[in-house]
């Protein structure tokens, strides 16, 4: 029934420099792993791997991701009775799964990145507008935030896709509307708090324009919190995108994405389960890694978001 003090004030633990206090001096390795927990290091490794794949996708893919080889259909992965010619096996048209996976990771990550960027820009802009104008403008923006937050985004996305049809650009913009309301809420709250602080008042009294106050002074001061919340938005966009692509309503063939691959693989769940399992594992590993790092960043840099 004890209430430990770390519970009341999480900053004390997170912000203490590694090495512990002077009377409980810890080993160097222990101090290192307390700052960088092993799970976070593993997650960072996977994120690094994913970024490497995104950057070099067409170069490291052993085959063209659309190249078919009908003599080599449905070969299992190398460790499950297949050959090293296709390390992760092939699909129903004899396309190399590793190559498709590499391209899919690139497509899914790019969509999630661009969409999160859109959501971040939109959220920060609207949040700042609400904080600057207050009054009517703020109420209008808060109403939009509430309206967006009260609808399951999946349904909105499906409706827009039904009415407007699908193209990659539209799809990315649509995904960009996911999560802006949370970022806007945070940006508004932080900006209102920041305007009451000394530095913002000082630059205003010096005659700085609102654009300058918000862009050059407030934004850098609250950026860490905003970046954390955008990081936490990222895996959710991947999940949403892969969900829609899985349903056949997201990324359209001949383009491929992780959800797309799972969607096609489900027909072979009995005879060739690896077609579905390989991209599934990629989705889970990517979203899990980013979530772990996002949570860790939040605890480390910004305990208030918890």
């Amino acid at each position: 029934m004890t209430i430990d003090s770390g519970n009341l004030n999480p900053t004390t633990q997170a912000s203490r420099p590694s090495g512990g206090s002077f009377f409980t001096s810890k080993g160097r390795y222990r101090a290192f792993f307390e700052t960088w927990p092993p799970i976070v290091l593993i997650a960072l490794f996977f994120i690094g791997l994913a970024i490497f794949v995104v950057a070099t996708a067409p170069l490291i893919a052993p085959y063209d991701f659309m190249a078919m080889d009908l003599r080599d259909r449905l070969t299992p992965p190398a460790l499950f009775g297949g050959t090293w010619a296709h390390p992760l096996g092939t699909d129903e048209l004899g396309r190399d799964l590793l190559s498709r996976l590499i391209i899919s990771i690139r497509v899914s990550m790019m969509i999630a990145f661009l969409s999160t960027l859109i959501a971040g820009t939109l959220g920060i802009t609207l949040g700042f507008l609400a904080a600057y104008f207050r009054g009517r403008v703020e109420q209008l923006i808060m109403m939009l935030i509430d309206a967006q937050a009260s609808m399951p985004f999946m349904i909105i996305a499906l409706a827009v896709l039904a009415f407007l049809g699908n193209s990659l650009v539209l799809f990315i913009v649509l995904m960009g509307f996911y999560g802006w309301e949370r970022i806007a809420r945070i940006a508004r709250g932080l900006a209102i708090a920041a305007t009451e602080q000394g530095y913002a008042t000082s630059v205003r009294d010096l005659g700085a324009s609102p654009m300058r106050i918000y862009g050059r002074h407030i934004l850098p001061n609250i950026a860490s919190t905003l970046i954390v919340s955008m990081t936490l938005n990222f895996p959710e966009v991947i999940l949403l995108e892969s969900g829609l692509s899985f349903l056949g309503l997201g990324v359209q063939p001949p383009m491929t994405s992780l959800g797309n691959m799972v969607g096609y693989g489900r027909d072979y769940i009995q005879s060739a389960p690896w077609i579905m399992l390989v991209p599934s594992a990629a989705i889970v590993l990517t979203t899990l890694s980013i979530s772990i790092v996002g949570d860790w960043m939040r605890d480390r840099f910004d305990p208030t978001l918890r």
Binding site: M1, I3, D4, N7, L8, Q139, M142, M143, D146, A147, S150, M151, P152, M154, I155, I156, L158, A159, V160, L161, A162, F163, L164, G165, P235, L239, S242, G243, F246, L247, G248, L249, G259, V262, R266, I269, Q270, P273, M276, L277, S280, I283, V284, T287, L288, S291, I292, D295, R306
Partner: protein, 311 residues
Amino acid sequence: MLRYALLRIARALVTVSLIVSIAFVILRLSGDPAIIILGPEAPPEAFKAFRHAWGLDQPIWVQYLKYFNAIFHGDLGNSMRDGRSALEVVGERIPLTLAITIPALFLKVLIGLPAGVYAALHRNTAIDRLIMTLSVFGFTVPSFVLGLVLAMIFAVKLGWLPSGGSDTWLHAVLPIFTMGMIGAAVIARFTRSAMLEVLGQPYIRTASAKGLVWRDVVVAHALPNAAIPTLTIVGFMVGSLVAGAVVVESVFSWPGVGRLLVTAVANRDLAVVQVILLFVGFTMVLANLIVDLLYGWVDPRLRTKRLQAGT
């Protein structure tokens, strides 16, 4: 309290009309209905007749008012696929969806709430870490992956359960379980952080200090206060009972509203999509309204605070 309730209801009505307006705008943005329905090669007289018959030659604000009028008379057009009323097409799928989403909701709450409370009360123990690890998986494993893996294990490998369809109650087990697991993870995480926040409050220390047994502190002071944020997420889940199963229904070929929506979007059966969109909007607004009223009832502070904030 009356003023609070009236404000909430007025706000819900505003949101409803906002949803209807957005539906109208998207519908108009989607292109000329005459071209969509008659095809671009139809003769000009047919276009003219069509536009006149549907009131498309009238000013946009007249169309807008007529749209509102039609919706409140339940006139939402016909499905383009079989010509039946879209309302009817959607209506007959609703019980099937509720048959899996309501048990799933119970599963979510029954697993998620105790797990979250337990984890918060035993913070930083092995069980807390286990619960939180499982919960992170629930957040990051997409429902279609979990569904397919469960289908692979229990339907393909073990052969205990059917992998798709809706003939017997056995067909409902996997969809319910898939949704329940993921929802439970979400609720557990929310409940845990709500509980942790409450447990750090001074009134908990006061209650302990005045000599209350810890059990009574938790039951009488911590749980009611932690219930408030948890209520929000459960309210959202209640609101999405009708449409929360889009992906899972598709994975298990369960013929509910979600699967209807996916086929309607793929076929661009706009009338059906619109009915589902409006229906989901209304249920969400209703659920939010109920949660808001419950808030005011559970927590008297909110009644006054929100009024002062003018929101």
